[in-house]
Symmetry: none
Subunit: 162 residues, 4 copies
């Protein structure tokens, strides 16, 4: 067996161990890659966001406040990342449901101020399972929603076998 | 031109560049002058306000409760001064955005009760930068809004290069 | 009756209306004068304090954060001004009573985090009655205690007939 | 010497005066570099920390929860990063001051649960000024303290003039 063959075998074994199928929980490494993508996109859009990533326990894994972001966005981004895992839906979906006279009106009062009912948060879904949540705050609601959707869409690109 | 002369020129150029441009953060002295102006105006209007001034960290610098002001106005004025720096907009602007079916409906629930969504708070802007916030509470919403706007408008008069 | 005589009569009438004996409640004007005295003294000592003054309802009348004061001192000074009126004693007296195994151990847990059990707060007493409270935070405990005691001691000088 | 030459000299002098002296506030880029250093060190020590970095307003800039870190460490690290800026001292210094019968016993109850009184937090000092705070939580107190001290010590290496 030469060096090349050995390298291939090692690569395959590592591949099997780390392959996407196994990723069922957010990691700090993945959260950082995802946040970097969202922040890069935000820069193109001229937005200074706070980006928060949560895990399947709706607990924060990463919060990054870009320079000149809103102080208020820290809580908002964090709470969006909580909301999307805690309620298993994007915050823009919840927005409709939580208006006066709608089915979930009042949900915003029940969880100690952690439920956000406007756009900018998405569950992070891999292989049909929620592995975490993404919360973005700092632009207009449209911008935050676009950035969160963008983050959700590039998740697969960032989940890579090393 | 000798070294001394050069030093003087350098000093002058730096001075011009940095003064009054150098005022980038609220001070207690400036906050007091501003509050005095607002309170004088309030007296003319027959309003007993609480006046709060925050810095760029959205932390309080000064809170003054005029005699016979509402006890509740302490929190309201303080939170207005927080809100305008934390969200970089007047509270009367936020008022519109936070109504049911508007983009930021629900923002009032996400930051531990510190977000105020009616008039009476303005960011204090100098040389295009927010250097703090002003929150006024105690009159009608129109009166508080007028007083906060007045405070924002006289800021430059109160900023003097020492 | 000449101008001089008129001036004297006006002065006496004003005197009678405003005389010390009548002052039973903190005012913003008095709070400002007292805070200025404490801040002047603090400057001599090289301390940057937060100074808070409360009224007989243990509600804040004035909070002033000198430049470079501790962010944490805002809550501490405010809570000292609350504590001294709410419990009618200096915080240095409470310090002893609230230690483990002492009579009031636990008082620090009972009032929503508003009770301060170290020096730097004094009730403001005029004509044998508490008319408000003074809380100072920003130096060592000895310095805060000295500044609060100083404030209590000069209260009478600052209560003047206009 | 013509105008152009003078302008260049002025520019250089200003540059020297302001760089790296101009770094007076934490940035996300610097916070990331610092957190990476602390996490690398933690890995060597076998600790899974939460690392939080705050700015001069004691507001969070970055929070990173390494995989398998304690859920409780999120609040602890964040509050350490708050405490060290809000009180301008390492949390291990505050530990001594906040013991029963010591000058600041009770400080842990006065700021809404944000004051941490054990090791693992340090102010981040550059050119004699606090530019932010570092909070580390996840190991033993000795480990957290060592990691925070390490972060404080490598700050200069991570500050580079752009």
């Amino acid at each position: 067996m030469n060096e090349n063959e050995l390298a291939q075998i090692v690569s395959r074994v590592v591949q099997e161990k780390l392959c996407p199928a196994e990723i069922t929980e957010m990691t700090l490494a993945l959260a950082k890659r995802l946040a970097a993508r969202v922040e890069e996109k935000a820069k193109e859009m001229g937005v200074n966001p706070v980006v928060a990533v949560s895990n399947t326990g709706a607990r924060p894994v990463l919060v990054e406040c870009t320079d000149d972001s809103y102080i208020a966005s820290y809580d908002v981004a964090l709470n969006k990342a909580y909301t999307v895992v805690a309620l298993k839906m994007p915050t823009k979906t919840l927005k409709t449901l939580a208006q006066p006279n709608e089915p979930l009106y009042g949900i915003q009062f029940t969880n100690g101020g952690q439920i956000v009912i406007f756009g900018g948060g998405v569950p992070l879904v891999h292989n049909g399972k929620i592995i975490g949540g993404l919360g973005v705050s700092g632009g207009s609601e449209e911008q935050d929603t676009a950035l969160a959707d963008f983050g959700g869409a590039v998740l697969e690109e960032e989940i890579k076998c090393l």
